[in-house]
């Protein structure tokens, strides 16, 4: 299978957006090669600003630019952008509801060998708790590209998480049907609802195939928009299946899992299991080794699905 990383999808779409719109500017904190904004730098040098190793300044500069009418994209590693500059994001982007787009690359633990400081499993929690902020997670090269273009269309602050590792293709190139507040139905089923995002979408599809052989017909949703969440789509699905598993490359605290759990517990309580990082930090290792070690594979999804299926609401 053809494997490409979601950060490459972001980089490619950013260039496309730069061609389409003159107000797109990129603010970088000296990681353009890694975040794949280097293509934009080469094509639109005048609209590219490397402020140095200074994430806080990068967000402030973007805030000032948005106040003058630009459409700034700030990109850095998710681990640094969302934590080092959190107050700047909160006070100078989210509060005044400015049109600043934040793209955190190297999300999750599959950053791999760089280890715990560079891995990020708290960014979704941090970003989704900010009023005005929309939160997206790309699951493959193509969805990263479409979501990047979508960021350019929507008004107000938004955060997009992309990853470092090349991942299997999930979407075809002509699929442009992505919207804020929506999820993508990748596999229909009536046995168990699996909500996933990022690299876990591929794992969920794999799990669904295995579950199918065991007689559990899983429905898989790619919840690429964490906020606003695709509430009606998720509820419609669990009303049919009566049980739910959420899978994400994020701390089980504060991520997609808790977002879905809140909706389910308020609207239509069904058994639910969260597959994610169990409130702990990562370490060095290959991406796959880390996925295995921290329980972020199709196996955990299969296990959790069997559990909730047995307890499903009928």
């Amino acid at each position: 299978m053809d494997k490409k990383s979601s950060r490459d999808g972001f980089g490619k779409a950013l260039c496309e957006l730069g061609r389409l719109r003159e107000d797109v500017v990129v603010v970088d904190a000296d990681v353009a090669t890694s975040t794949r904004t280097e293509g934009f730098r080469r094509a639109f040098n005048k609209r590219f600003f490397n402020v140095g190793i200074a994430e806080q300044e990068a967000v402030l500069v973007a805030s000032g630019m948005a106040l003058c009418g630009e459409l700034p994209f700030v990109s850095s590693f998710a681990a640094f952008l969302t934590t080092r500059a959190y107050e700047q994001i909160r006070t100078c982007v989210a509060m005044p509801n400015l049109n600043v787009k934040l793209v955190g690359t190297h999300g999750g633990i599959t950053v791999g060998e760089d280890g715990v400081t560079h891995q990020m499993t708290e960014d979704i929690a941090l970003m989704r708790s900010l009023p005005n902020m929309k939160v997206f997670v790309a699951s493959d090269f193509h969805s990263a590209a479409v979501l990047t273009l979508l960021l350019g269309e929507i008004q107000g602050p938004a955060y997009l998480r992309v990853g470092r590792e090349p991942t299997p293709e999930i979407y075809k190139e002509d699929d442009k049907d992505f919207h804020p507040g929506a999820a993508k139905l990748l596999r229909p089923g009536d046995g168990v609802t699996i909500c996933a995002c990022g690299i876990m979408v591929h794992e969920a599809l794999k799990a669904a195939a295995i579950l199918g052989r065991q007689g559990i017909n899983a429905e898989v949703l790619d919840c690429y928009c964490i906020k606003p969440l695709a509430v009606q789509q998720i509820l419609a699905s669990i009303r049919r299946t009566g049980c739910c598993v959420v899978a994400e490359e994020h701390n089980v605290i504060g991520g997609l899992g808790e977002a879905v759990a809140r909706v389910i517990s308020e609207e239509y309580p069904v058994p639910i299991r969260l597959v994610g990082v169990a409130d702990r930090y990562g370490q060095s290792g290959t991406a796959r080794e880390l996925q295995e070690y921290y329980g972020l594979t199709y196996r955990e999804i299969v296990g959790a699905s069997a559990q909730v299926w047995a307890l499903r609401r009928r």
């Binding site: 140095g52 200074a54 300044e57 402030l60 500069v61 000032g64 948005a66 106040l67 003058c68 100078c92």
Partner: protein
Amino acid sequence: MDKDREKFLAKTALEVRKDVVRTIGVANANHLASSLSVVEILVYLYWEVMRVDPQRPNWEGRDRLVFSKGHACPALYAVLARLGFFDREELWSYRRLGSMLQGHPEYRRTPGIDASSGSLGMGLGIAVGMALSLRLRKSASKVYCLLGDGEFQEGVVWESIMNASHYKLDNLTAIVDVNGCQMEGRIENISNLEPMEEKLEAFGWKVLSCDGHDLKELEKVFTEINMHKGSPTIILARTRPGKGLKKIEEGLLRPTEPVTRLLMEEALRELEAFDKAYFQEGEEQSG
């Protein structure tokens, strides 16, 4: 600046000062001292330097002011009201629920506010972004940023200082209200910032100093700034916290003291007495 103009600006500053006392007094708030120290700077900026249009607060061709020391906003509110950005009556709703005038300046809520502020140390970075954007758009607009001296204890300010200098932003001018005070006391006793001038020069800025209450000196530094090219400029405006009110100036009252009704009335009497002595009598004589 001729005598009449200087007198007009001094009188304007005095009226702004009175409104600052009233605004803070009615709200029973604090930050009186730091609001009073920036009055002449703001009056000079808005009446002599900046191109703004109160009828069109979002006019693209305007000059921008990022008011980084957001807690001193009563002074800015009083100035904006006087210029006609909004009704002066709004001043008495400062800090109240649903008010246009928040405890710290909020973008979009108040006409004439170019950026939200309140959390210290963030204004200069926003101003750098604005200056970069305006240069990209080949706009003649300038960006001004008013900071408190204590703000330089925030590390991110120095990120912005480096950046502005790297990008040679000569459409950006920072003005520092050097009143020497921070919440818990004197800056030199808490985390000393001096020598500011040498530090900023070493970072590549054109540094000018003046008395921040002397309109003639402000005129001199702003004239020099207008001719300067090739780097950002910064004015170290030495001021006195609580300027215009003896009790604070002489240290009898803490600069951070909340303003009670009694204190407000006392302060207004003092400013009125000054007004009588220096303006109204003078006007009578000339008339």
